[in-house]
Structure formats: structure tokens, C-alpha cells
Symmetry: C2
Subunit: 357 residues, 2 copies
Amino acid sequence: MAEGISLEELQLAARNHGMPLEALRWDITPIGLHYLLTHYDIPEVDGDAWRLEVDGLVARSLSLSLDDLRGRPAVELTVTMECAGNGRAQMEPHVVSQPWLLEAVGTARWRGVTVTSVLEEAGVLAEAVEIVFTGLDRGVEGEEEQSYARSLPVAEALAGDAILAYEVNGVPLPPQHGFPLRLVVPGWYGMTSVKWLARLSVVAEPFDGYQMRQAYRLRSEEDEVGEPLRRIAPRSLLVPPGIPEFLSRSRVVEPGWCELRGRAWSGEGEIVGVEVSADGGETWASAELGAAALGRWAWRSWSFAWDAEPGEHELCSRARDAAGNEQPLASPWNLGGYVNNAVQRVRVTVADRSPAV
Amino acid sequence: MAEGISLEELQLAARNHGMPLEALRWDITPIGLHYLLTHYDIPEVDGDAWRLEVDGLVARSLSLSLDDLRGRPAVELTVTMECAGNGRAQMEPHVVSQPWLLEAVGTARWRGVTVTSVLEEAGVLAEAVEIVFTGLDRGVEGEEEQSYARSLPVAEALAGDAILAYEVNGVPLPPQHGFPLRLVVPGWYGMTSVKWLARLSVVAEPFDGYQMRQAYRLRSEEDEVGEPLRRIAPRSLLVPPGIPEFLSRSRVVEPGWCELRGRAWSGEGEIVGVEVSADGGETWASAELGAAALGRWAWRSWSFAWDAEPGEHELCSRARDAAGNEQPLASPWNLGGYVNNAVQRVRVTVADRSPAV
């Protein structure tokens, strides 16, 4: 486990926010509890002076103000977003980067315009291959000074549900979520959903910026090309039952029937099943899935009636999606510490009495 | 420095949010960037069923709904709040608890009713000594199962500016800030401002609950009684200049005149001076204080024109308050890792060229 987190990693953990897991109880994560990963600094943006530039291989370049975008037909999407590095701090051997345990997730209602509508207005030319999304956040990474930038294949940008969002949970984007405009690509890991958008450039070659070429690839060695990360692998997490001990975060539960609740999600396909184990993954039983009321791109609630007997227990849950993916008990190591979707383990002590009131 | 943070401490760092220091640029910290320390879990509270009970040594016990409170004369206060453990992870020898570096701070506009008005309505009896504020958050700490509770002397509660807040930055309290009601005691460390308030009890003896008796005391050994923590010691922090390197968070600045900006605050007295050093604390020069436009209980902005010459530098700032307190270069160790207000040190590399665009 993650013994020996360095000062550098702690600096990242202190500024990048996880979602406390009791927040899994809310369909929509309250603002301030959604996870946040900021590669560089949160930029200060003057919304009045800001423009979104759309250029490159287009019939008409565009320069759009926030009012221009707000004046267009709006769409709203409920999206569960997760960092590709979620689970990194539980990987062995240790990977040095933002040390996420399991909290790098959240679900929000994003409102904006479709990427498709903007690209159709600009007129994507036939030789276009990718769209490059560039943010206003700037820093140094891998010894390269850069603005954060990621690309999507044209087909994905045109066919998918991606939106350019200017509101979250009914309010204008707060600075940390990308004010005044961000990309939201449902079903993909969070690095794709570029914040503080400044530019969409349509290009003829696959974009090889740092965040595509070096970061966010599954590989075992530095000189390997590896596979780019895209869609979110299935995961299920529990609302931690009972009450916590302050320092260890271990849980104390009253004996008797206890309703375990949680959420499950996958970017690869709909969630079709969640199983629960109360003995550390030895035996499993099916949980009951809640209604898919939040739509295809949001997490699914689940519940399980557990007869909590006095003693020590290790609770686990695992999700399965319609594409046949299931969470593993252990996830294969990789250089970047990505996609560790091994089942969660929650240590619980069931008291042999009703706790004092 | 904080090499060797354990998994348990990382669990705390992952769920307790720091304010990324670039957010020092905003007078009022945007919701979602203010620091958060949650001792146990964020409770789920039904605002319609909730009541604030006021009882103990009062002429009239009260049971107040949120509408009752909203119907009374409201006050609004801008308050800089800081955790007493801010700076803990930089203490030597290492103290095991929430491993704050310097981000446990934020400034918000709190709206609610004065504590005084509620106590006057209830009628505090002559033998009263303290008011105990109890929250709905429940957990185990120091092997004691408890609801989070802290007390204030009657004189402090009646004479001070403390409020019972139901709004922050113009919106109802989000769950993580204490919905539906929290105490806000300006000038005191954050542990005093009990969230998810359920009860105010007027008592005849100093309250000896865990959070008064064990936690939040300055002492060197377990069997020492120690001094209770109260008001915030002075601190100044810089908006980190230039751009960051992702992993190390070290800063790269362009050569030439650079406006350093920051904030300073103290609960002991108004800020009367801020000094800046560009050589790690060898030499100091006065910064210019901004207007005290946010009021007595909020941080004060400051700025300093720095001629950034190519090379490595260590930037520091230190605050001085009207009560004669000044930040030290090193803060004395204590068992809980509290009140480490030693001057911040920001490593900066000034490039010998203009950075590539």
C-alpha cells in the first residue's frame, strides 16, 4: 500500500480534490465535492474578453464569445467523470504522481452546446483527422513548457455526445471547473475534458502534444509507445457504512441489517450488474441496481441488504458492464499508474453491542 | 520535510480539501476552493425536519427551524478561516494527522443571525459559563465515540461577532460547509466554527468534551494539560508567481519586474505590515498593503514589485499584526502539529530568456 508518499506528491494531494466517498449518496455531486485535477494553476479568465477560437481545416474560422455560445440551442448532460489515475496510490510498485486513492470521481449536470454544432458551423474539411482542444492553463511537464491540450478523432467529436459546457449544476462554471468554457466528453477519462478552453483546431495529423504522446498511455516502459487511454473502465464504490474513526477512516457499524449503498459506472457500456462481498472477495452476491434515471453517462445506484454480524469484515463491490468488462481483484501495473479499477476494500468493525448514544 | 506520509494520512489528504494557493488572488474564495476539514463524514441532513435546539441554563428553551432563522434580522460577515493544523506537514519531528502544507485557508461571505440574538431570546441564566455547540457529524476519535462538539465562553459568545450561518457566498450552505446551519467565529481557528449545528447548550462548567480536552491544545507531551487554541496567529502567503512544473510545483518566472501578490491575516489584531524576502529570509523589504475593504475579519491583500533576475530564488513573506505578533522563521514543535505559522518559502527559477510561447 501507499506507505511513503513524498512531499511532492503531498503537494499535489493538497491541491487536487477528491470526492469524499460519503458523497456517493447524492445523484449529482454538490459543487465543491466533485473531484478536481488541475495540471498547472487554475487560470484567472476575464469572461468578457474571452473568445473561443475555432480554426485550422475549416471552411469558416470562428471567434465566439460566451454570449454567442449562450445564445445557441443548449443541451444538458449528466456525466460521471473520473480521473484516469484514480486508484494510482494503491498500485505496487509505487507510481509517483497525483496520489489518488479512490476519490477521483464525481457526477455533474453540464449545460452547453454540442461540439458537433460548432464544428458543423465552421465546416470541417475532408482532410481533417483530429480536433485539438487547447486550454488557457500553462505549465511545465516532462521538461516541456506547454498549454494543456488534448485531441479527439474527428469521427468521435462529430458522432459523440461531447459538449462545450458553460454551466455546471445550474450555475456558471466556477474557476476550478474551467470558467468560462470547458469540454465534456462523456464516458472518457477526465483528461479528455479540457478546461478553460481557448481554441479548437482542426488538424490533418494525429496531434502529438505531451498529453497525447507522453501522458495518459498504458505502457510498462518509457520507450514503449503504449496504448492511449480513452474510455472509463467499470468501477463500483460503496458509501462507507456506519461511522468512521478519525485517523484510520476505518468504519464502525451496528450489528443487524445494514443497507449497503453505492454507485457503479463504465464508459465502455451500461452497467448490467454489481456484486457485493462481505468477506474480502471470497464469496459474492448480486446487489440490486437502482433506476437508470440519470441517463447513459451517469453512475448507477445500487443497494444490498447486509446482515452485519459482530466482528471484522472486508466489504467489496464489483461492477460489470454491457461490453463484458468486469472489475478485477487486482489490476495490472503500468508506468503511469492508470486505470487501477481493482475492487474497493472497506474494512468494517461490527460492534457486538449497540453503540453508545 | 514531509517525506514518508502514510496511507492513513493520505486518506485524510484525499478527502480534506486545501485551497490551491493561486486562489489567494480572489477576495472571496469561490465555493469549492475554500479549505475543508471534515472530522468524520459529511452528514446527510433533511433541512425540513432539522431543528436547532437551544437549551441548558436558559430562561426559555428554543427549537428553531431554518425558516425561523431566515425570518430574523440577518447579518453578513466576510471571514478568513484557517485550520489550526495548517502547516503541520512541515513540522519536524513529523506529526501524524491531516497533513496540511499551507492550503488550509479560505475567505467566505457568511450570512445568518448573530449568536447573541439567539442567546438573548433564550435568556442566558446568571450561572452560565460556556455555550456548547454540537454538530450532527459523528465518529470515533481517541477511542471515544462522539458527535463533534466545541464550546465558547459565554462572554465570548455574547460579545463577539459570532454568527449562525445558513448561507455562504450568496447560496445556501452546501453539505460540506455545514448545511443547514453552522457556527462561524471570526478570528478563531476553524475547529471552533462547528458545522451541521444541532444544539446550543448553555452550561455551568467548562465543557470537557474530546475536542476541548484532548484535541486543539498546545502541549509537548500527552500528560500535559496544555493551552487551548483560540485565535489565529498571523500568516502571509504568496500567490505563486509564474507557472508551475506539474510534479514538483516549483515555479518558473520570466526575468524583469514581477508583481508579487499575496494575502495576510491574523485573528489577534489587524495586519499592520507585510515584508517580503527574495533571498530565503536574509533580507526583507516592506510590501504595500491593499485597502482593508473586506473588513476586520478577512485577509488583507498586499503587493510587492520584485526585479526578478535570472537564477534560483527563494521567496518569503511575513505578516505582523497590531497586537505585535510576527511570523517566525521557524515555529516551535508541539504534539498536535498546530499553529505552524513559520514563513512560507517558494522556490522560483527565473529563466535567462523569455519563455517560449
